[in-house]
Point group: C2
Chain length 204, copies 2
């Protein structure tokens, strides 16, 4: 599995940053940073591949996954997605992950949000996509490190998952679910984004 | 600055894990992991020092910080706290950070929550403490890599900060603020925890 990193990640490191460790997932960079008193200190950042997550719809439902992985003690619930470590384009990676994990494809993709803590010590972005009207075209084709079952939930069920400790999504999306619960208008806007043709009735 | 790591962090790594990189903040560990088809793969995790954050109260207000750091493009708003990299005990670290960053001490500390993603690839815990009835005993004593001003906000103002992109706190606490906005009982419980003697009137 090649570890390809978007060029922009590396561009946001200082020019004098040097890679001091080249790992399976993580690379470590060091540089000398001038401090407020004129002294210098060694600064350190981790660069890792971006991740992608898909809000994939089938009819008026959303695909979620029940996942087991080696070295995980408890099953987790996620959206389709994973590490974008095979291609520079996050959309291509999201399409690959959705197909591999669920066997579904969509011809109607849209970038919902990119979350990239600008000053974090672990540098990467999380890309959230919407994939509308998905069609099953294949069996899921799982990695040897994955045990995954997919199922469909309503938007109301997805919102309630934000209370479950087993629900693993990026921090931005979990916060967004809580914000939708705080603000019905925000929720209905999201519902129309996921299901453009649907009425705003409650289906959960 | 010594990088001391709680022993329990390392104990939760597989027994055959070996340190392959020893950094300023981050260490990298590798081990062979058996996959579902019987093959093995190299797994990788990062270990880093825990962090501490303090909900420090003065009267009916909470201390927050406006922070600049070298290499940060924008000022951020945080709670007092930082990396627990000098002592194994998170409480001692939280007390040190509060004193250094604000000059305040408290004789009434309580652990509010420890957030430790159990299966994350970057292993560390975030400890949230309550420090009640703080008293100013010194000037703030800042690191050469910090520019910090402290100010006091009400609980209502803290809750509203959860909408600000400049507000940097651990994911658990940000979610908790949103959950308090969703549930007035949760908010009032937190208010009584911060200000045990106070009436539940709105002060923001």
């Amino acid at each position: 599995m090649p570890k390809s990193l978007p060029t922009k990640r590396l561009e946001s490191l200082p020019k004098n940053a040097k890679r001091v460790f080249n790992g399976v997932i993580f690379d470590v960079y060091h540089w000398k940073q001038k401090m407020y008193d004129g002294s210098t200190a060694t600064f350190e950042k981790i660069v890792r591949p971006d991740t992608v997550e898909a809000l994939a719809t089938v009819g008026k439902k959303i695909i979620i996954l029940d996942q087991q992985q080696p070295n995980l003690t408890q099953e987790k619930v996620t959206l389709p997605g994973g590490r974008a470590d095979q291609h520079h384009n996050p959309l291509v990676e999201a399409q690959r992950e959705l197909l591999e994990e669920t066997g579904f494809i969509s011809s109607d993709w849209q970038l919902l949000h990119t979350e990239s803590p600008p000053d974090s010590k672990v540098m990467y972005s999380m890309h959230y996509f919407i994939a509308r009207n998905c069609k099953k075209v294949a069996k899921s084709r799982l990695d040897v490190g994955e045990k995954i079952k997919s199922r469909l939930v309503s938007l109301e069920q997805l919102l309630r998952l934000s209370d479950s400790p087993r629900f693993w999504v990026g921090p931005w999306f979990l916060q967004e679910l809580l914000r939708m619960r705080l603000d019905p208008k925000r929720k209905e806007k999201f519902r129309r984004l996921l299901f453009p043709g649907a009425l705003a009735d409650h289906d959960g």
